[in-house]
């Protein structure tokens, strides 16, 4: 307990800012509590609000390895936990055909034939790692049940080798885009935080932190424009990642302020749905706001 080298939420918040991640008080509190209480932290929010980034920053902040398990439809235990290297075993069987000793069969299931996948790696690394289970909503619910078992114990029994258990559990960040509701049993295990789109000032700071070559005024223009776009009736609301991309794109073109023309030329880096672009196109003057004139 309390393996976090920070005495308070504020200290953690400052440290995160030092890693160029600007977390609000709520998120910082959630991270602080999750690590202190050894609970997985479930982060939900729209795409591009920086859910995955939390794990990366936390790992570098704590000086731990980041172990990432990217979920996808159809992922199963052999892709998440461990697998035997069957081809290697097959070759080994061939090679020792002349030798009759039973003991060699045992050798086939030795550590050198084991292919370690993210979950096993996380169990072995224990508190030396941050485990990121990314986009869990994409996996099937059977996999979610399996993950719940692992998260409850941080131990796994490999029949041929024996039990592998983490002395201290790793820090765990689970993210979901909410394409489906996660099971309650899993949610009960976790602390939960909903990440919203940041407020304008905060977003400007994020752009400045992430894209230092973008001038302040331009960063503010872009962030304000994205904020107005989000209020539009569009299907895919742009995330912070899009704001940063857009700022990069505009800065690369060498303009100092965002005007309508530049916005039209670079809108593809912020709106990635054809209908959204069509909807925004005639209203770009409104999106750019008064920045173009000043």
């Amino acid at each position: 307990m309390g393996r976090l080298p920070f005495a308070s939420v504020e200290e953690l918040q400052d440290a995160l800012a030092g890693e160029h991640y600007l977390a609000d008080r709520g998120l910082a509190t959630a991270i602080y509590l999750a690590v202190s209480l050894d609970k997985p932290l479930l982060l939900e929010g729209e795409a591009g609000v920086g859910k995955t980034e939390v794990a990366k920053v936390l790992a570098s902040l704590l000086g731990r390895d980041l172990i990432r398990l990217q979920c996808y439809e159809g992922i199963d235990a052999s892709q998440a936990l461990y697998e035997w290297n069957y081809s290697k075993q097959l070759i080994a069987v061939r090679a020792m055909q002349d030798v009759t000793a039973e003991a060699h069969v045992q050798d086939l299931f030795g550590p050198e034939f084991l292919v370690e996948r993210p979950l096993l790696a996380a169990i072995r690394a224990g508190s030396k790692a941050v485990l990121l289970v990314d986009e869990l909503d994409r996996a099937d619910d059977e996999f979610e049940a399996f993950l719940l078992e692992i998260l409850s114990e941080f131990a796994v029994t490999i029949p041929e080798i024996g039990r592998v258990a983490a002395e201290e559990p790793p820090a765990v960040i689970v993210t979901s885009n909410r394409t489906r509701e996660l099971h309650d049993a899993l949610k009960r295990r976790c602390l939960y935080h909903w990440i919203d789109h940041p407020a304008l000032d905060q977003e400007v700071q994020i752009v400045r932190a992430r894209a230092p070559d973008v001038p302040e005024a331009l960063a503010r223009d872009v962030a304000a424009a994205v904020n107005r776009l989000r209020a539009f009736d569009i299907a895919k609301r742009p995330g912070v990642a899009e704001t940063i991309d857009w700022a990069h794109a505009v800065a690369f073109l060498g303009v100092e302020r965002l005007d309508e023309e530049t916005a039209a030329a670079t809108i593809g880096s912020v709106l990635k749905d054809h209908e959204d672009q069509e909807l925004a196109a005639p209203r770009l003057a409104e999106v750019v706001g008064d920045a173009g004139e000043s």
């Binding site: 509190t29 959630a30 509590l33 202190s36 209480l37 932290l41 069987v93 099937d140 909410r178 939960y192």
Partner: protein
């Protein structure tokens, strides 16, 4: 237990958890324990700390945040400042949170049990995936052909019962996951090797893997305005049958605006659910804004509900009060997102019907299957149409 300041503070925290539960949020003992531990970890808390500690440990759905905020404002109204000088250990908080003696330990065990049962359930679902179509061949031939709008109350009850016995078939899709199969496109090195160990490492028996299949989710979008109500009620029963068959089903009702009723349908008693939906959906007798409702569905739910790759079933007469252009656009969007669009229009039951209504004409280009669905017989047809 002596009433020390700590104990009082703890009572306050636990009381808050119970208050949330009283307000209908899913707050179990485990969560209350976590909340107390979180508060204890932070030590001295002002209202902001307390808010975030409570929110991250007691709520796990965005929809619940509003209710949570309201409860929090009431419960911790005054300038709260708690000093918890407790060791943030589990047992004490646990014992106090649950007078019945259940502590964190059993909950972990319980989680594991839940996980196991849940897995068993998923296996079962998969096993019956290939079940054959069972169509109700009953003596009630007359009932089969009578339009839902002309049924007496008694007949409606009997038909509702029959609809629920329809085995709703939903097409399967191939998953990315490979499973052992008698033959298949992929060589199963794993099993081949295991079996070869029995024959001195000689791989006599070769094993194969093939892709598994899963059923597609079903999304019902039902028009409940005026004249459509009897048909939509019948389709709600149909949704019930689909859910009972273990399918993933999402149900939305609309008149002038969209309401999600999936949760309400997920109870055991269909009649109560119908009653509840009637109460929930305010505009049973209002006009129809199909385009707007579809837009609400696609904007608000395409990220959350299982729409992608699903079979969407729209039931409406297509008498659109809104802008037909919007309907055309939204239908095209729906068509791109889902696997297949089935439109049920009870008016089509009349032999003289032609899809001339402007709304219907706008929707038509994006419809894969167009069916009447006005009586039991046509629902059977619908069930078959969904299967292939």
């Amino acid at each position: 237990m002596p009433a020390s300041p700590e104990a009082e503070a703890l009572d306050r925290l636990i009381g808050f958890g119970r208050e949330l539960r009283r307000r209908g949020l899913a707050v179990g003992t485990g969560r209350i324990v976590t909340f107390c531990r979180a508060a204890a970890t932070l030590g001295t808390l002002d209202r902001t700390d307390l808010y975030w500690a409570a929110r991250s440990s007691l709520v796990s759905r965005r929809e619940d945040l509003e209710a949570f905020d309201a409860a929090f404002d009431q419960w911790f109204r005054q300038g709260v400042r708690l000093e918890l000088d407790l060791p943030p250990t589990e047992p004490e908080a646990a014992e106090r949170a649950a007078p019945d003696g259940s502590v964190e330990g059993p909950e972990v065990v319980e989680d594991r049990i839940v996980a196991r049962e849940w897995r068993a359930l998923a296996d079962e679902e998969e096993a019956e995936g290939e079940a054959a179509i069972r169509i109700v061949a009953s003596a009630a031939e007359v009932l089969r052909e009578k339009s839902f709008a002309d049924l007496s109350d008694e007949e409606r009850r009997r038909v509702a019962h029959l609809i629920r016995r329809l085995a709703v078939q939903v097409p399967v899709r191939r998953t990315r996951r490979f499973r052992p199969a008698p033959s298949g496109p992929r060589f199963d090195v794993k099993r081949t090797l295991r079996r070869s160990l029995r024959t001195h490492g000689e791989p006599f028996h070769r094993s194969w893997r093939d892709r598994a299949s899963r059923t597609r989710p079903l999304v019902l979008i039902l028009d409940i305005s005026g004249s459509m109500a009897p048909y939509s009620r019948a389709l709600l029963q149909f949704a019930f049958a689909a859910m009972a068959a273990g399918r993933k089903v999402e149900v939305f009702c609309f008149g002038t605006r969209l309401t999600r009723v999936t949760r309400t349908l997920r109870t055991r008693d269909p009649d109560r659910a119908m009653h509840e939906i009637g109460r929930q959906v305010a505009d049973w007798e209002g006009g129809t804004r199909i385009g707007e409702s579809l837009k609400a569905l696609l904007d608000g739910w395409s990220q959350r509900a299982a729409l992608r790759g699903a079979v969407a079933l729209v039931c409406s007469d297509g008498l659109e009060r809104g802008e037909p252009g919007l309907l055309r656009e939204q239908m095209a969007r729906l068509r791109r997102l889902v696997h297949r669009v089935v439109w049920v229009n009870p008016l089509k039951g009349s032999p003289r019907y032609e899809p001339l209504a402007r709304g219907m004409a706008a929707a038509l280009p994006s419809i894969d299957v167009f069916l009447p669905g006005h009586n039991l017989e046509s629902l059977e047809e619908l069930s078959r149409a969904l299967a292939d």
